[in-house]
Symmetry: C2
């Protein structure tokens, strides 16, 4: 079953906005067996939308249109659809009454132009919008269902959920695409591809075929597995087996198979072990603390973080000996180690982390170029210290530093003998 | 002049990816007078792409297609364009030789399927790709220019720049769209709209018309001004005048007219005044420090940050009296003030910030619901302490806390009598 997703609105055609509604819609459509073949953003010009709708009607089983249902002249979706389907448009006074009541509840009088939102191409089914004034519309032409929904996500998403459950799922032939995302760190993309390629290439010819995509991202790699199956139970069984095969090959490099972020995985490990953590950050500037504390309940294990940006603060706050900075420089393994041990000892936690490096753009030298970061992690009796060479601008170096530090901690806690970070 | 932007590739039609190439292309096209009327992402199905191209040829002055130029069977862009324009396809041995050399330089033999990348619809102009194997192609049909470019941004962007300069700009009628973004904090959207509406609605009928869009974002509002003008100089003069009118109305609520982020604006103010800053963060968990240190050169003014997540760390690290926590609770104005003063006094900086609140999801009570955040800022002889009620989940509360804290500091340094944050 083939789907087309259209977003209507000239404001979505500026350099500042991306259409994210289509991602939510794609996910839901995939799950009930619709494959998205085309998505488009169309300006507020009725001729344009008519042309695109006419094209999609020749092949799509469902067309989902978001936006263009507001009360102004710019809101052209209703008109365009009526023109394409050659339907007259009536004003549904029931809709207008409901909009008028909505305004009245807030002590306001409905502006006359909101009557436009009551316009319905004849024969359309009206879809209730609990979170806004614009109702949705459902129309059918031959084998194609046409769903019109408002643009704001908080109005669109609940309405789409209802449409999927009540109207679209029964139209589907039952099969669906089901996905699993594996997150990996500490390996390069080509390294991962070489390891998993011989495995996943056999999956496409199985009874429940699984296709695999490798996505390289900053500081991590994602493997997206997509199973085509008649039911979620069948897909889950096939995906579980595939994930198991990948875990055999990649081992501890896979940190998450359920979409969780590294900070959530590490946080749960700390909680399970009843451990607490204190971190001392220089070049990462608080980003490690911020990521750790993004996780709900992290106050149970995050005791403190010290952003010791100046040399003086490294000495005063986490007891780095001045002589160590003088001898080795602030960006060095001995200083990272002293930061980790100092912050842990002062905080009385089980885990200490020290990060010191050059985030750039200034401050690099031939011996220590921008991107050089020394990281120390101490947990119980374990201590690991490494120097990394990260790439990219300031924010990229900061992010990679926090990713590497959390992965070092994760592998120590797992006692896994795996590389902390890809070699260059 | 009307433009259409197409991205080819089924991998762009999953729930995980958004097309960002089109944003860069839109910005460049707007500047030389092309208005983007449609953009679409098309699956790797030649029939689909043919249909969309045929539609766009009826109205577009330029069609930019990215992706689908790789060496595999899935790469359908060349075939689809040749079919639409009814052109035979020849293999350009010069291109194939250059690709072979590229492989040879890395010690590799060119796989045979890379010959596909040498296929050229007859009459097309080949666009050199310095950063990859897939060359671009330029074709014309009647009044429409068709530009085919590879998908990876680091290959696409430099090639598109060259096309814009050498081939597209001369086709434009000279006019262009030029934009200015104003960033505002401390006011609500409706508040801003009420203040600026009477001003900007007069601009559309001026000799150089300016259209205005208001975008509400988390913790800030953006005003996008778009001038339609014959030259950048004319547009800049008109935009400067408009920005001035808005500044008269909105005053200190506008923190940036050149795209700079709040952390960069505040950082420059600190640098200009030769001030230094130390922050004590509880619920924001290091995010304020991380945002401040995202700015290059911030080590000149950021002395330290203390993430005192536990009560013990508030007492030990920034000298919050235990009795204060016992009396008022950790989330209270007296504790925020003690944090700001304590961290400043220990660090010996001119500015101190204290943030303590409930980021959720747990920990709320009827008196202090989730989202309650007390913030204190002290700078020189000034002290301001406020309690805010932010909305949304944990990361949203964290972000709004840092936004409000930086805005308090900014307004103190400006000595501006403006609200720190919108009233509910």
């Amino acid at each position: 079953m083939n789907a087309c997703i259209l977003a209507v609105g000239s404001e979505m055609l500026t350099p500042f906005r991306v259409d994210t509604n289509s991602l939510v819609i794609t996910e839901r459509l995939n799950t009930i067996g619709f494959d998205v073949r085309l998505k488009a953003v169309v300006a507020d010009h009725v001729d344009e939308l008519v042309r695109v709708l006419e094209g999609a009607l020749t092949w799509a089983d469902v067309i989902v249109v978001t936006g263009g249902l507001g009360p102004t002249e710019d809101d052209i979706t209703r008109d365009a659809v009526a023109r394409v389907l050659k339907l007259p448009v009536d004003v549904d006074e029931g809709i207008v009454d409901r909009i008028r009541e909505r305004f009245a509840r807030r002590g306001l009088t409905m502006p006359e132009n909101n009557r436009r939102q009551g316009m319905v191409p004849r024969g359309a089914i009206v879809l209730d919008n609990p979170n806004g004034t614009a109702p949705g519309l459902w129309l059918e032409r031959d084998r194609t269902a046409i769903v019109l929904l408002p643009g704001p996500p908080r109005e669109m998403v609940p309405m789409f959920e209802a449409v999927v459950r009540d109207r679209l799922a029964p139209k589907s032939d039952g099969g669906g695409l089901f996905r699993r995302v594996l997150k990996i760190t500490g390996r390069t993309e080509s390294d991962v591809d070489a390891a998993v390629g011989p495995v996943y290439t056999t999956w496409t010819s199985r009874p429940i075929p699984i296709s695999t995509t490798i996505l390289a991202m900053l500081g991590q790699i994602e493997l997206h597995l997509t199973a085509q199956a008649g039911s979620r139970a069948d897909a889950d069984a096939a995906l579980d087996a595939s994930v198991g095969e990948l875990q055999t090959v990649l081992g501890a490099a896979i940190y998450s198979t359920d979409g969780r972020l590294l900070e959530a995985v590490v946080g749960e490990m700390l909680r399970d072990r009843k451990m607490t953590i204190a971190v001392a950050e220089s070049c990462s500037g608080g980003l490690l603390a911020s990521r750790l504390t993004d996780v709900p309940g992290s106050s149970d294990y995050v005791e403190r973080a010290i952003v010791c940006y100046s040399n003086r603060s490294k000495v005063e706050l986490v007891d780095v000996p001045e002589s160590l900075i003088a001898t080795h420089g602030a960006v060095s393994e001995p200083v990272a180690q002293a930061m980790a041990e100092g912050v842990r000892s002062r905080a009385g936690t089980t885990v200490g982390v020290g990060i010191t490096g050059l985030a750039g753009p200034g401050g690099g030298s031939p011996e220590k170029p921008v991107g050089t970061v020394a990281i120390a992690v101490t947990a119980g009796d374990y201590l690991r210290v490494r120097t990394f060479q990260f790439f990219g601008g300031r924010e990229m170096v900061k992010f990679q530093s926090t990713q590497a530090a959390m992965n070092m901690l994760r592998l120590i806690l797992l006692k896994a003998d795996a590389p902390f970070w890809p070699a260059r």
